[in-house]
Every structure is written in C-alpha cells, then in structure tokens.
Symmetry: none
Subunit: 248 residues, 2 copies
DNA sequence: GGCGACCGTCAAAGTGCCGTCAAGATCATT
DNA sequence: AATGATCTTGACGGCACTTTGACGGTCGCC
C-alpha cells in the first residue's frame, strides 16, 4: 500500500512541477528573422525556447512540450492565428502573447476574444515583449485555490469572490449587481487584457456587444468606489481601443 | 499495481463514499484532445480514469463503474449536458464537476441548479481542475457530526441550529417551519451573500426559482421577529438584485 | 494646427426591484 | 365541520439601479 502511494507521488512530481526553474517559451512565427531574433534574445536570458513556423507545428509542439508561455504571430501561412488560439484554449490555459501588425485592430481584438492574454504590436521592442512575457508567466503561477477562500487583495481594497463582498479601509463597499459582475470578470483575469466585447458579452449578454458606453459608465463607477485616485486609475487600466485590465 | 483482491474488496463495499485507496474518475467529453490531456494528467496522479464521449455512454459507464467523481463537459453531441446531470442525480450523489465554455453564464447556473457540485470554465488550468476535484471528493466523504454546538450568537438574538431554537431577550421566539428553514440557510453562511435562487431552491425547491416574492414576504417576517429595528435591517441585509446576507 | 476617434463625466429619464400589507387558500387539530 | 396557524398570491408606492444622451478632454493622424 505505501509502496503504491510513493510511486504515485513520484509520478505526479515528474509530471509538471519538477524542474520548474527554467521557463519554456514556444515561439510561433513564419518569418525566420523574427524567430532568430527572439530565440537569441530569450536564450540569452535563460529561457528554454522552442520554435514553430506554422499553426499545425505550433499545436503539436505545445502538446508535446507543454510550454509555460506562447508567443504567437497572427499571420501564419497555413491557418488563421485565431484557430491556433482556439486549438490551444481547448485544453490549456498557458499564457498566449500575440504578435500583430500595427494596422489590424480587429485582429487583435478577435485574438483577445479567442482567449489570448496580451498583445504586442509589430514592430516591437524587445524590452516590451520581455516585460509582458515576464508578467504573463508571473501571474500564471499562483494557481486558484479552493472555491471557498477566493480572495483578491490589493493595497487599497479587498475582493472576496466567494462572499461577494468588497472591503476598503475596514468598511464594506456597496456595489450594484452590474458593478459587481464587471468587477468579478476583471478580477478573475488579473493582469490580463480583457476586450470590451468580452466584458459586454459576459456582463450584459451577447446582444450588447457594441454598447461600449455602458463600459465607460460602469468603469467610472467602479473606479470612483475603489480607486484611491479615480482620475488616475491604478488598478483598472484602460487600453485604448482594446479593453481593460485589472492590475493586482 | 493493486491486485485483484483489492479491487474485489473495493467493489464489494458498494457504497459511494467508500474510502477506497484509489479514486475513480469518469471523464465525459467529446473532444479527444481534452480527454487525452485529462486522462494523462489524472493517471499520472494516481487516479483511475474512465472516459466517455457522449451522454449515453457516460450514463452507462457511471452505472457500470460507480466512479467517485464525474468530470462532465456540457457540450455533448447526443444530449444536453443538463440531461446527463439529471440522469445521474436520479440515482446517485456522486460529485459532478462541470466543464463549461467561457461565455455561458446561465449554463453554469442551470448546471448547478440541476445538481452539479462545481464548475470549471474552459480553458482550464490542470492544477485548478485537480484542486476542485480533490475538494469535491473530500466534501463527499462523511462530514456529519459537528451539529452539536452549532450556536450562533448576535447582540440581539441567539440561534441554536442543533436544537432548532431561537432566543431573544431571554425568551424563545416562535418561528414557522418556512421561517426557520430560511433562517437556517442564511445563518449557515455567515457573512456570505446567498443568492435568491439559492435560497428559493433550498427552502422551497428547485421549481420555485423565480418566485422572488416569497423571499420578500418571509424576509419581512424574519426581520420583524428578530431585528431590533425591522425597518433598518442590521443582521439580514439585502443586496439588491443579488440576494441576502446574514451578518454575524 | 485641424480633425476625428475614443474615453471620462455628469445628470436626467426610465425601469425594475424591494418592502409592505392584506386577503384568499391550504393544512392541522379538534 | 370549525377553528386557528401557516402558506400563497396579488397590488402598490418608493427607491435604487440601469439606461440614455450630451458635453468636454485627450491622443493620434492627416
């Protein structure tokens, strides 16, 4: 009996948590120059890097190597980048950072809706990409604990997702249903850029996809109730043209 | 590996909450990638896993194998996921964890109302699913026997959950069965917001999910009998549009 | 520098929800 | 059958919340 249990523990250790010191990155792009630049820069900083030049190879590589983060160019030769995102999102929550050309705004929004975590416009600065990559990996680590004690803390307020309660400076903050729903969606995706359409669909329903003024009104309410300086948001950040982001 | 004798003993126990050394999981999903990912991960952690690709096979497998927990995707080809839940709930209390697509809020509520125990939104992190799976199995184990000293005190009244008595100012307060039932649900979740649907389902049954006026009437009764100032509730707080909350 | 897109702010109009009351309906007890 | 307690049902006023429209500011682009 104990022998069996030891073996189970050993196997479960080998599975994922074992050598977590090295972060594995999967780079997906069909332009060799970009791939080469990324590989060199990432390896120089201690990442372990795999590369794939099209969507099919990307999905295969992701399944085989279980990367910690994926950097994905949307313009691939064999399949739409959105298909790759959906293919990954069927079974994994690995952070996906999208590379997108500058004048393709819908493309980026669609990618976020499909489940991407963040985006970087091409041409990109290596420092910016590295910063977003670090942020994505960092927030992927703390795994959601039990259903009961789901509490998100910031320096200025506390959100208890289970009790549906928000505290600030010792007292409770009263939120309306819509305010709470909006806050919940944002807080459940910390650090991640959530598109306007995603928020509207989740809070108001699929038919309200274009009523972006609702978001402006309720974002203002939330900031007024929770931000220390509502005019200069620190926790609920606007990404113009894209969506909003909650910073823990 | 465990021998034939162990399995015979386990199956002869026949009880659902039995403390078998190996936890059996039934995975129900029509997407092969997801099934494969789950099977690999769960087996690596020592679970015994069966898989079913549609609702009919799921019900058959559940009847044949008596799993300790079911992981169920709501989007199945042959029948609605809710039908599967109801089919299971007709004869077993086995914990059911639902896999749900991201933007399907009502779906999740309906699943919980139908008798599911928990849900995980797809895409899911394997660690999160495993945590919820452990929690579900743990909850299913014999939990009883802490009903002894279940007494909740406030400055104005006392609720004895074991004796089913409520005291206020030295004398007993007389509550009708429905009033007591409602009070009990609220007091058992101190500080937590309990949704209207949850209260209605618990006190009146699942089919009364929309009769919110019952809640208004009986909340008024409770407040009249227990609150020092019924017009300004201190212990039974209304969260407009969401539900009620008992403040200890 | 002008122009347009986008965001934040505000306040008024509209809507739905909650608390309250009271009268039927149902049930238990005698 | 009668009585009293409990549960259901409907109506209504008040108020909180949502919706809607208008205005001004900022940023990027031509």
């Amino acid at each position: 009996m104990t022998g069996v249990r030891d073996r189970e523990q050993r196997e479960s250790r080998e599975r994922e948590g074992g050598d977590a010191a090295v972060t594995r990155v999967l780079v997906v792009d069909d332009e060799p120059q970009i791939v080469r630049a990324l590989v060199i820069n990432l390896r120089a900083r201690g990442y372990r890097v795999d590369a794939a030049e099209d969507g099919a190879k990307a999905l295969a590589a992701a399944a085989a190597r279980h990367p910690d983060v994926v950097v994905l160019d949307l313009g691939l030769p064999d399949m739409d980048g959105l298909e790759v995102i959906r293919g990954l999102r069927g079974w994994t929550r690995v952070p996906i950072i999208v590379l997108s050309a500058r004048h393709a705004s819908d493309e980026k929004v669609d990618a976020l809706d499909a489940g991407a975590d963040d985006y970087v416009t091409k041409p990109f600065g290596m420092d910016e990409l590295l910063a977003r990559l670090r942020a994505a990996v960092r927030r992927a680590e703390p795994v959601a604990a039990d259903t009961d004690d789901a509490v998100v803390n910031t320096a200025d307020f506390t959100v208890d997702l289970a009790a549906k309660r928000v505290g600030r400076g010792g007292t409770d903050v009263r939120l309306t249903p819509t305010e709470w729903h909006l806050l919940e969606v944002l807080v459940r995706n910390p650090g991640r850029l959530v598109s306007q359409q995603q928020l509207l669909k989740e809070v108001w329903g699929p038919s309200y996809r274009t009523e972006t003024n609702y978001l402006r009104v309720y974002m203002a309410q939330l900031r007024r109730k929770l931000e220390p300086d509502p005019a200069r948001p620190r926790y609920f950040v606007t990404e113009p043209g894209m969506g909003y982001r909650f910073e823990g």
